[in-house]
Every structure is written in C-alpha cells, then in structure tokens.
C-alpha cells in the first residue's frame, strides 16, 4: 500500500469516528394524550379545592363517556382507604359521577384517579388523570384554638404520626412511630378523642416516617413504615379489623427518612416515594402492582440528605408531582412527574437551612397547590406560592420557629381556607399560622400550644367527631403523644 492508500484509510477512519460522535440521547417517552382523547372540562369538587363539600364527585368531559367503574374512576381517602360507592351518569352524557358510600372525613385528602380504562362513547380511551381535593371542616366557623389532652407519656420518643380509621369504625385513630423503640403503635380512638394504646407492631427498626394508604385496594386503610435503621420499607396490611401485619418489605433503600403516597402513573393503585437520607441521597419512586407489592421504577439522584417528601399536582397536568426537602443540602427540590412516575427535578428552592417539614395546599385560593417549609436551623417557617406552572416563590417567612421540624395544613378555624401548624421542638411548642384567605398568614399568639417537649411530628383529624379539625403532636421528649382538641378556651 502506498502513502495515498494509507491516507485514504485514515480519512475513512476519521469519518467513522466523527459519525460515532453523535451524542444524541434517547429520552424516555413523555408524550401527552393523543388528539381526540377525552379531556376534563370541569370537576366538582374542583381540582385542588381546599374545602370541598361532602357529596358526590362529578367530572365533566368534552365528549360523551361510557360509565365509570371501580377500575376506571378510583377514589381514595387519605384516612379511609379506597372508597366504595355508586357510579352515576352525572346528568349528561359528558358527565360521570361517583357517590361514595361514606362521607369524607373533615379535612381528609381525597385522591381521584381517572384511569386509562375510562372510554368515550366514540371508543377513545382516556389519558390517565389524577387530582386531589381536601374535604371541608364541618364546623364553620371553628374555634381554631386547641386544648391539650393528657399526654400519652408511655409513647415518649414518638417521632412521626399518621391518622386514619384503621379499624373502620368511623372514628380516626393514630399510628405512632417510635424509632428508638423500633416500633409502631396504633392508638385507638373511642370516638370522643380519647386514645388508648392498641396494637403494637414491633420490629420496625428505627421507624421514622409513616403514611397511610390502601395499598391492596381492599377498602381498608393500610400503613407504610420507613425504617431508617434497617433501611427498609414495611407495608403493614390491614385485615379489615385494624390488625396490621407486615405484608411486604422493600429493602432497596438507605436510611429512609421520608415517605409520600399517591398514584404516580394513574393506574388506580397508590404508589410510594421514599427519601433516602444522608449517605443514600436519592429518592426511590416505587410502583404498586395493586396488591401492595412495590418495585422501583425510578431513582432520583443529586439529593443531599433528603428527609421529607410531599406530593401534589404542582402544574395541574393530571400527574402527581413531588417536593423533597433536603435537610443536609438546605434546599427543597420540586420534581415534576412527566407521567408514569417519570419524575425530574425542575426547580431547586435553595438557601433554606435544614428543611425538615413540608406541607402542601392552596393557600391563596387560586386553584394551584402551594407549599410551606419548616427550616430547623434558621428557626423559620416559609410560605411558598405556586405561579400555577409549578414554579414556586417564597412569599412569607416566619422567624422564631425554634428548630422547627414539621408543618401541617388544615382549616383550623373553619373559614374555608387552609391554615398551618408548625412543630418547634426547640421551643417545645406548636405554633398556629392563620391564613386570611389570600395566602397571607399571621401568628395567632393565643394559639401557640406549649408543653410539647421535642415536638417532631404532627397529624390532623377530627378526633372527637365534632366536625372541626384537631391536632396531635408526636414528642420525642417525655410528653409522648399529645392530642389537641379544637375547642374554645
């Protein structure tokens, strides 16, 4: 071969290399609904409603629909489990309605899942759509001041709470995670807000986060427990009487601190997301197969000490999104769900300091889900407003929330807007932030609840059945669990 021949070979090699340098990547499919797919024109209660009246759930589409069913029009109550009811044609061919067999509980978060098995009469399949609203307080107005009940001191070391009607008797019970004792305790409610220790579920190593959900869709409320010491997630299955046993353990985690539940892919089953704390530094997006068995469908990196998660549809696209508080990283990540549980960080809200608590709700009544943070190391709580596209801005900061560790929302005063409560272990108190209805909050000194030693977890519900929203506090200190009834002083 002469030198010209060699040169030709080298030129050919170079061309091949250049062709190989195409860095185009195959991204996952993120297409929206195809043309002609039925779309939602309106919903009643409205999407993201903060104070929905008890009644039917009605959805109006742009075209005539075939009847809904338990597989296509799925409704979960955060404190009740999967709701049974009657499927109706809501007065027009374009309207479907669901009449639940039981009323929503005051303040209960309702998740409506319109699955892909819904069809229009023209044969078109619906594109899955998931939305939430909050049931109204049934006492309007309500006192908005809280009276502490005798502390359940045997539960000292309590870190997290979940509220739900585990035994299906109509009143709200509590689940308490006690990480130092490696157990979860169910507190049974006598219907008047008096709680007694019921079942104790041992072997929950470092139980740090709880979330209720009907994982197996059998109509009763189950529980999920994040066990930080064993790096596991335990699914506690309810036998229908309130007796919970471990039905499934997911072990692909690292020091799990936070949980969130919701149907990420619109298949009608409640899924989970887990925050794997410092050293793990990732989020696990888990998919439920409908029987309470979970597999990971996505891992989300670039987290630094993620401790808390909350779900909501930030951009109103019918997919539940997430927010992740990074306790070590001092920021909150907003994660958009592109559908099917394909989450991606779209905003980082930085310059927080040890954010540990998250709450979501429509603070200003504009129909969008807003956020609130509690920041432990700068002793603040933030009110964060959504512009409707999932872009958030901090609009108010409340100092003096000493080592604030948790925040929760609820309509404490029965004025149909969502207020906040902040747990401050450094000050051994819980501070109530009152919303004026426009998303502007103020501290009600009269409603600062003291005596909460190491207040770390909060739960809301109508413990005494009087229609207004009460509170409960998990204290790592000697107070254990304290039930706060919403009553006039």
């Amino acid at each position: 071969m002469d030198r010209d021949g060699l040169l030709k070979i080298l030129v050919l090699m170079s061309m091949l290399l250049l062709l190989s340098c195409d860095n185009s990547s195959s991204s996952s499919s993120r297409g929206g609904p195809p043309a002609g797919t039925p779309i939602i024109l309106s919903a009643d209660p409205a999407i993201n409603d903060s104070s929905a009246a008890v009644g039917n759930i009605t959805v109006t589409f742009d075209k005539a629909m075939n009847a809904g069913s338990a597989a296509s029009f799925v409704v979960y109550g955060s404190q009740s489990g999967k709701l049974s009811g009657t499927y109706l044609e809501g007065g027009s061919p374009q309207t479907l309605a669901f009449d639940p067999d039981q009323d929503f509980k005051p303040g209960e978060q309702i998740e409506v899942i319109l699955t892909g098995s819904l069809t229009a009469t023209d044969g078109r399949s619906f594109w899955p759509f998931v939305y939430r609203f909050r049931a109204e307080s049934q006492s309007q107005p309500a006192p908005g001041t809280f009276i502490a009940q005798p502390a359940l001191t045997s539960l000292a070391g309590a870190f997290a709470l979940a509220s739900g009607d585990w035994d299906g008797n109509g009143d709200l019970d509590l689940a308490v995670a006690i990480p130092g004792a490696n157990k979860v305790v169910i507190l049974n409610n006598d219907g008047a807000g008096n709680f007694t220790v019921g079942q104790t579920i041992e072997g929950q190593a470092g139980a740090r986060a709880l979330v209720g959900g009907d994982w197996d869709g059998d109509g009763d409320l189950d529980l999920a427990v994040a066990n930080s010491n064993s790096s596991t997630l335990n699914i506690l299955v309810n036998d229908g009487t309130g007796s919970l046993t471990v039905g499934f353990t997911f072990s692909g985690l690292f020091d799990p601190y936070g949980l969130a539940a919701g149907d990420w892919n619109g298949d009608g089953y409640l899924d989970l997301a887990v925050a794997n704390f410092w050293g793990g530094d990732w989020l696990s997006i888990l998919q439920n197969n409908g029987s309470g068995i979970f597999v990971a469908i996505k891992l989300i990196w670039d987290q630094t000490g993620p401790s808390t998660l909350i779900a909501g549809d930030w951009d109103n696209d019918g997919n539940l999104d997430l927010a992740a508080a990074n306790w070590i990283g001092d920021w909150v990540d907003v994660l958009k769900n592109f559908g099917g549980g394909d989450f991606e960080v779209t905003q980082e809200i930085s310059d927080r300091l040890a954010t540990t608590g998250l709450a979501a709700g429509d603070w200003n009544g504009d129909g969008d889900m807003d956020l609130a943070f509690s920041n432990a190391y700068n002793h603040t709580a933030d009110v964060v407003t959504n512009n409707g596209t999932g872009i958030f801005t901090v609009t108010q900061t409340f100092p003096g929330q000493t080592n604030s560790n948790a925040v929760i929302s609820g309509d404490w005063d029965g004025d149909r807007d969502l207020d906040l409560a902040v747990a401050n272990p450094g000050a051994s108190n819980v501070v109530i932030l009152d919303n004026d209805g426009t998303g502007s909050f103020s501290i009600s000194i009269a409603s600062t609840i003291t005596g909460q030693s190491g207040a770390s977890g909060l739960a809301a519900g109508d413990w005494d059945g009087d229609g207004d929203l009460d509170l409960a506090v998990a204290n790592t200190g000697a107070s254990g669990v304290v039930v706060l009834l919403n009553q006039s002083p």
């Binding site: 070979i9 290399l17 195409d22 990547s25 990732w282 597999v295 891992l299 990196w301 670039d302």
Partner: protein, 346 residues
C-alpha cells in the same frame, strides 16, 4: 454492559502494556518443524479505579463496598504477577502452526483468555490465523454493582468464549485485519436487584451478551528502525441490556523503535463509547471518552542468559495509563500500571 465497558477499560490498560505486541504483525510461521513459543513472567504495580470489576487473576480491582452510587470509584492498588505464555508446534512442510496460549491483546482487556488455534502461511496472500478463545481464569465482576453505601457486593464469574480470525500481510502489504467474537456470560447477573428495580429496567442492565470487534492496523515504516502503526477498532458490545450495549470506536497509534539492544514502543489511543439506551439507575444515556497511553522498553540480551535453550532473555519495563471518562461518574475507570520482567522466546 457497563461492566463489559469497565472490563474493556481495564483491558485497555493491559493492552497498552502489551500494545507494542498488539500492533505487531503476526509472528511468521517458523521455517522448521517443532515447538516454539514464549513466556513473559513479570511483576508490577497496578492502581485501579472501577466500580464494576471485582478482581482479575486474583487481584482485587475494586472494593466490595461503594462509597456512593453517584460518585467516582475509589482506587485500589496491588502488586501483580503476570505470566503470559504461548506454545506452538509447526509443521514446516505445510507452513502450518498449531498454538495454545495467552493472547496479549486479551490480557490487555483484563480478559485472561487462552486461545487455541491454527496459523497458516498462504504465501503471497499473507498469513491467516484462526483461534478459539476461552476463559482459562474468568474475571470476577459484581453480581449487582449498584448497592447502597457500605453494603457488601458479591462476586460472580464472567466467562467468555469466542473466536478470532486474523489476516495479516495481506497481499504482502503490512496491513492486518482481524475480527473477534465473544459470548459474555455472567454466572449471576443481578444488576438492579438491590434497588428493587422493576423487571424491564433490570433487563436494561444485563451484561450478558455478545461482543464483536473489528480491527484494522497498518504498519508504516517511515524511517529505518522506526515504525508507526495506526489502528482503528470498532467494537459492538451487543449485550442483552440495552443500557449496557454500546458502540465503541477507538483510534490507536503505536510507535516503535527497533534498535539493538533497545526496543522502545509507545502507544496512545482515543475512543468513544455510545450506549444504546437510557440507564435506568442514572436516568441518562451513558457516554464515555476513553484515552490512554503506554510505553515499553525492551533491553535485549544484556547478559546472554537463556532458559532451556531459549533465545537470549529480554528485559522489559513498561508503564501505562488509561482513563475512561464517563458522563456518569459511577462508571469512571482509571488504571495505572507499571510492570517489569523478562521474556524468553523459543
């Protein structure tokens, strides 16, 4: 697939060390019937960073535990002993040689394959060689490389079987082409097991499969005793997991000076690897840039020592550096190798 890539990277280091031989022509078929061969015992030091390869020839190349799944691997260093060899028998009448031994180019790829094959001199058409490749000592990889920090990973054997065809001195010109096929088989492929990944995402990580590699080398004598040998290597890692499957393009240039008593070779390469599908753990397609260089000095026959009637012994020292820069930090790989030893040929 990632592991294959890592194996390839690691192999590259070794290849660099052996690169001078790599760029050389096939050894001619001896004129006389009888046995021939070489043995090249050596010792050295290797520093290696990988999250994928567990060990090779008994030398640990990565830690049982990972520090973090979203960061580069730590380095492991070790003394190593390598004893590649080759043994052949020539039938002079038919210009045919049967051989068995370690192919240095495979050693470079941390694939301690043995090859048994036949080499045939076909006169003016050149020299052709065909061989069957098998793993005498399989490399060890991790069953599931992706586990949480401070969790132990379990080793599993990575076997490869295949074949190689080489045509050298094609029509009398210093051009060589070769094709290598391998089937890669892991005893236990459990990638994604720890994370509890859904099955279809685990499948994307499957490192079993086939590898096809085509290579063309031209040896260019540009001055007396000085030779350049550019090479282009295309490798298709056709692994079962699409996130592990890749197309790899490497350019390599080898310089050699063949003096007496010193022979010096230096070799550099640059390449890219493009993966087929999104990695289900890191949510992006993997892309690698690969580069490295090596240099080897042989000192011929310093004292005339021989072994069992061999040609005079050669001493050699060699150094190599290879780095695979992946857009996903976990898959980065780096190897530094320094070796020295002797070589006897018969």
């Amino acid at each position: 697939m990632k592991r294959l890539i890592y194996l390839t990277l690691a192999a590259l280091i070794v290849v660099m060390v052996v690169a001078a031989d790599f760029a050389n022509a096939l050894e001619p078929v001896p004129k006389e019937s009888g046995f021939s061969g070489f043995i090249r015992p050596g010792v050295g030091y290797v520093s290696f960073k990988s999250n994928m390869i567990a060990s090779f020839l008994g030398f640990d190349l990565s830690d049982k535990k990972t520090n973090a799944l979203d960061s580069s691997p730590d380095s492991q260093s070790s003394a190593i002993v390598l004893v590649p060899f080759s043994l052949g028998y020539t039938f002079a009448d038919t210009r045919t040689q049967l051989f068995l031994g370690t192919d240095l180019t495979d050693l470079v790829r941390f694939d301690f394959s043995q090859q048994i094959g036949v080499k045939q001199d076909i006169g003016k058409f050149g020299l052709i060689q065909g061989g069957f490749l098998f793993s005498g000592v399989p490399a060890k990889v991790w069953e599931d490389p992706y586990v949480a920090p401070n969790r132990n990973r379990q080793e599993t054997d990575r076997n490869s079987l295949g074949g190689r065809l080489v045509w050298d001195r094609i029509f009398g010109i210093p051009l060589q082409v070769q094709y290598t096929y391998r089937n890669i088989d892991l005893d236990d492929e459990k990638s994604g097991d720890f994370f509890g990944l859904v099955d279809y995402k685990r499948d994307l990580l499957d490192r079993n499969g086939d590898r096809h590699s085509g290579e063309i080398i031209y040896r260019f004598d540009f001055a007396q005793r000085h030779q350049l040998a550019p090479a282009f290597v295309y490798t298709r890692n056709d692994l079962d997991g699409d996130a592990m499957a890749s197309d790899v393009y490497d350019f390599q240039l080898t310089y050699s000076y063949r003096g007496d008593p010193v022979i010096f070779t230096a070799n550099g390469f640059y390449g890219q690897a493009d993966y087929d599908d999104e990695n289900p753990i890191y949510n992006q397609d993997q892309d690698d840039d690969r580069y490295g260089f090596q240099a080897t000095v042989y000192y011929k026959n310093p004292w005339g020592w021989r072994l069992l009637g061999s040609n005079p012994m050669n001493l050699y020292v060699s150094g190599a550096y290879v780095f695979i820069d992946s857009n996903i930090d976990f898959y980065e790989q780096e190897a530094i190798l320094a070796t020295g030893g002797v070589m006897f040929k018969w």
